[in-house]
């Protein structure tokens, strides 16, 4: 009986030790993983910072002006180009340009269309 208790005690001791070590190693692993992720985010953050700076560096007005002068044939903005919304003229009455042209050509009459499907011999209907 005593021996059995001893075995149980030793077993419990060993398993608790194993469990404790597992936990410890898992923690170490997780810490390492966390550290890695942290340094990775830091690297990414630094990279973002550098890219932002580079973006601004490439988009500095000085450079844009030089490039625009060299490659674009745009004119400087004129104050007269600004129009208030109220100054935009209303849209004129709708004109059917194609219809008018057809009328001029004498084709303005409505095309004769067959009144019913029965009289039409040419239209292939659904065969019964």
């Amino acid at each position: 009986m005593i021996k059995f208790l001893h075995v149980i005690a030793i077993g419990a001791l060993v398993s608790s030790a194993v469990y404790a070590y597992t936990i410890k190693y898992e923690t170490t692993l997780a810490t390492e993983h966390l550290q890695k992720l942290r340094s990775k985010t830091q690297r990414e953050r630094d990279a973002i910072q550098v890219l932002k700076a580079e973006w601004q560096f490439l988009n500095r007005p000085d450079r844009l002006q030089t490039l625009a002068d060299r490659h674009l044939d745009l004119q400087p903005f004129q104050a007269t180009q600004v129009v208030k919304p109220s100054e935009i003229p209303n849209r004129g009455p709708k004109v059917d340009a194609i219809g008018r042209k057809l009328e001029d050509l004498g084709l303005g009459l409505p095309t004769e269309t067959p009144r019913s499907a029965k009289t039409s011999a040419t239209t292939p209907g659904a065969m019964p």
């Binding site: 953050r45 630094d46 910072q49 550098v50 932002k52 700076a53 580079e54 601004q56 560096f57 500095r60 007005p61 000085d62 002006q65 400087p76 903005f77 104050a79 007269t80 600004v82 208030k84």
Partner: protein, 593 residues
């Protein structure tokens, strides 16, 4: 087991020998008694052993505590470098969120001289990889007893790899922050710059430090830029560039030795753009501290010339002693003050009303107005307008105005048309803003702020009616006076030229001018004030040899308004506002009919 006991028995008596031989003898007898092998002596023996072991364990515990509290080697490096490593700084953004200054990470090489075994070899290897290092200086550095020295700051990734491959013990890398200004010289004078340790040396960078950033770093906080809130300036990068571009072109065309300019929001006191040429690149500020690179808007003081007539007229109108229809005789074309004679520049010889005095830039008219108010009144008014004291803004650099020591009638007479009192241009435009924005004087700021916040710090200095009169005469001057060059159609520009002769060796030099041009847009409800300054501009073919303000400052301001107004969101209007100056029309001022 007997070992500790023996030491105990050996050392304890030695300490006592000198003072009491009698007690020593009795103690020795007692010890002998203790070690005599016998059963009844067990009690004291056990006690002694307990004592010894207790002492041993206390010593071990003490040592453990010592190890735990004292910093170890790794922490030592961090501590040694924490003072040396460059601190993080917040980003600086413009009013639209564009980056003006940011931190980027770089790597620096350091060494721990105490840990380097062969210092000569280390020196040789390091100089081979980093050729721009001075070998002798490096050897001296490594020869010191210090725990931490920099070998080289801010190296490239490739150099880092090479140094790493050398594998010298005691040589390592530390990530650091380097300040970067992506826009180069744009807004250089506003931003200032930071040194290699990322400590602000000038401009807003220094201002940020003075706001407690250094204390944060000292406490070990804020080592990352992301921990810090970005600083948002009032500067608009696009407008800043336009201003600089036009001034650079102008300086070349008019062959001026220096130029400066500013754009200010008169309703909030925000400085939208500020340029002073020649300037510098804050990324490489080697020439930033040269004398001609000063911020002329803030650190230079100048006689502002006729621009000051606006102040004189405002003072006279506001005092009630003069109204918009008062007349001033300019007959004779000169005035005498003791031995001094003051002449008219564009003499008319007629009797002029107040708007005419401004449009013809009549010295005599201005003098008579100032004298109507009197010397004391003049002084009090300029004091109220912040023209007699040093103006402090966020920028740490500033200059005090040069005020005459004894202020007599002659001084009032000359200051009335802008000579004899030298002020910083920024100070002058702050005053002009107050004249046109309805009478609210506010200190210019380089930080973004809303109109409500601005009104909280503003003080009323003149009546709204006087402000309307000033807007009116500036508009008249833009329409048909000397400011015509800047009258870009659609923007309803008002302005004033100012040409002052430079003082060379205590005399006014006839051929060396300092020209200023102030413009307000739009005149009926001003939002922005433009200022362009040229130092010693020369005449050119189209100007017929003239080098007065209209021919340089005026031309530049005109172009500036044309380019900057759309960026600033000013809507052009081609039909004039129905009733821009109701009071002036009611009073029937000159030029309204």
């Amino acid at each position: 087991m007997t070992d500790p006991i023996r030491t105990e028995s050996g050392s304890a008596p030695e300490a006592e020998t000198v003072e009491a031989p009698a007690t020593l003898r009795s103690r020795l007898a007692w010890l002998r008694d203790v070690f005599r092998m016998s059963g009844d002596k067990a009690q004291p023996r056990v006690g002694l052993i307990i004592l010894c072991f207790s002492a041993l364990f206390i010593a071990i515990t003490g040592r453990l505590a010592l190890l735990a509290t004292l910093p170890n080697e790794q922490v030592g490096i961090r501590r040694a470098s924490s003072n040396a490593i460059s601190a993080a700084r917040p980003d600086i953004l413009d009013r639209n969120g564009e980056i003006l200054a940011t931190d980027i990470s770089v790597v620096s090489v350091f060494a721990e001289p105490r840990k380097i075994l062969d210092k000569d070899e280390a020196t040789e290897l390091l100089t081979a990889v980093l050729p721009d290092l001075d070998a002798k200086e490096l050897r001296d550095k490594l020869g010191t007893k210090k725990g931490f020295v920099w070998v080289k700051r801010e190296i490239t990734p490739r150099q880092q790899a090479e140094v790493y491959r050398l594998g010298i013990p005691g040589v390592g890398f530390l990530p650091e922050h380097k300040r970067f200004y992506p826009n180069g010289p744009a807004a250089a004078h506003v931003l200032g710059f930071a040194n290699v340790d990322n400590i602000g040396i000038a401009g807003m960078e220094k201002y940020i430090d003075s706001q407690g950033l250094q204390d944060l770093n000292g406490a070990g906080l804020a080592s990352q830029a992301s921990d810090l809130k970005p600083i948002r300036l009032s500067i608009d990068l696009r407008v800043e560039h336009v201003l600089r571009d036009e001034l650079v072109k102008g300086m070349e065309r008019f062959k001026a030795i220096a130029a400066a300019g500013a754009i200010m929001d008169v309703t909030t006191g925000e400085v939208i753009a500020l340029v002073s040429l020649p300037d510098f690149d804050p990324n490489n500020p080697v020439d930033a501290l040269e004398k001609d690179r000063i911020n002329r808007m803030n650190v230079g003081v100048y006689e502002m010339g006729s621009t000051f007539k606006a102040l004189t007229i405002a003072m006279a109108l506001d005092s009630g002693k003069v109204n918009i229809n008062s007349t001033f005789s300019t007959a004779g074309g000169m005035m005498r003050f003791g031995r001094q004679v003051i002449k008219e520049y564009h003499g008319t010889g007629r009797t002029l009303t107040v708007p005419e005095v401004f449009v013809h830039s009549s010295n005599m008219g201005s003098i008579k107005m100032a004298l109507a108010v009197g010397v004391e009144g003049h002084k009090a008014f300029l004091k109220k307008m912040m023209q007699l004291d040093r103006m402090t803004t966020e920028l740490p650099e500033s200059a005090a105005p040069i005020v005459p020591q004894r202020w007599g009638e002659i001084n009032t007479a000359t200051i009335a048309f802008g000579h004899g009192l030298a002020v910083a241009p920024l100070q002058a435009i702050a005053a002009v803003s107050a004249l046109v924005n309805g009478g609210y004087l506010m200190k210019p700021t380089f930080l973004k702020r809303s109109q409500e916040d601005a009104m909280k710090v503003a003080t009323r200095v003149i009546k709204p009616e006087t402000s309307e009169a000033l807007r009116y005469i500036m508009r008249i001057n833009g329409d048909r006076g000397s400011a015509r060059k800047a009258d870009i159609p659609g923007y309803f520009v008002g302005g004033k030229t100012g040409t002052a002769e430079k003082v060379i060796n205590g005399r006014y030099a006839k051929n060396k001018n300092f020209t200023t041009f102030t413009a307000i847009v739009p005149s009926d409800k001003p939002k922005y004030l433009f200022l362009a300054i040229y130092d010693e501009p020369k005449g050119y073919a189209e100007s017929g040899g003239y080098s007065t303000a209209a021919w340089n400052g005026g031309v530049t301001t005109g172009k500036l308004i044309e380019r900057a107004a759309p960026l600033l969101g000013i809507v052009p209007r081609f039909d004039p506002p129905p009733s821009p100056f109701p009071l002036m029309a009611k009073l029937g001022a000159w030029g309204t009919r």
